[in-house]
């Protein structure tokens, strides 16, 4: 798959990103909700309506695949295409993070306005 195909899916929303990270191993819906809340340190919560929508879209786009079904609970995991998309997003986030950190000392609330403010 070419880089252009991958770019079509980026950037992922925060919810989609965390859901895909959680699906690096097979998990069913509710387990994904718990995992996302845990790994995001409580910053991201995914409601069942949002999760169902993301599952439907990702499955349709071939980024995740159903691997198991028990008592109406389906488990999904990333496809090779899904892994490539997630990896590409992780790289972009790394660049974003480095850029933010590079200016972080200028972002402190105590800092006075350089452009002639108070």
């Amino acid at each position: 798959m070419s880089q252009d195909d991958i770019k079509e899916y980026l950037p992922l929303t925060e919810a989609t990103y965390y859901i895909m990270v959680a699906l690096s191993e097979p998990l069913h819906g509710y387990a994904v909700m718990q995992e996302v809340e845990k790994i995001s340190e409580g910053t991201v919560r995914v409601g069942p309506g949002t999760l169902y929508g993301v599952f439907t879209t990702l499955e349709k786009e071939g980024l995740i695949v159903k691997v198991k079904e028990e008592e109406r609970r389906k488990s999904y995991t990333l496809t090779p295409k899904g892994r490539a998309v997630l990896l590409s997003q992780v790289k972009r986030l790394g660049i974003m993070n480095r850029n933010g950190l590079a200016v972080s000392d200028r972002l402190s609330p105590e800092r006075r306005n350089v452009a002639g403010g108070t």
Binding site: G29, G47, G49, T50, L51, R72, R73, K74
Partner: protein, 182 residues
Amino acid sequence: MENALVKKFKWFWAWQDEAEEAWLGEMSKKGYHLSSVGVAGIYTFFIDEPRDYVYRLDYRMFPKKDKQEYLQLFRDAGWEYIGEMSAWQYFRKHAKQGEANEIFTDAESKIAKYTRILTFLGFFWIVLVAVLVGRISRISVDNPYPWWGVIDGIQLFTFLVFLLFTYIIIRLATRIRQLKRL
């Protein structure tokens, strides 16, 4: 003892779903708890002690086998399913501090919900336009009567439904625009 049941009619438009959720919550605070939904705005409530419930509405149409998985996901997350009324899916849970009381947790999924309604209405809107255009095109150029002379009851009705659908579509599009600004 069997709890008393009360039927109530209440209409709401597609862009007023959040107000509807709030209203159902208020009813529960008064001791009227939604027990089932019927067709065209007919609700059945059971009367019991007042409770603090959160009600949430989704809009979805799907085959039965997909619905099983969907409902299981909501049940696992602590939501009780009440029923479906013209593709509106009704859920509730006990309101708890510090707990997730939303079924949609980002703007994207809320926008997707309104887009599903728009797609459904848009289909009928196109059909209505086709019907209206078909009727108008049949008006002959050398018709001796003025144009309003050819408007019959059915045409007027179709036109009014067309206006109503257009209005609903505009309201929903406005709602989506608001969400996109967040």
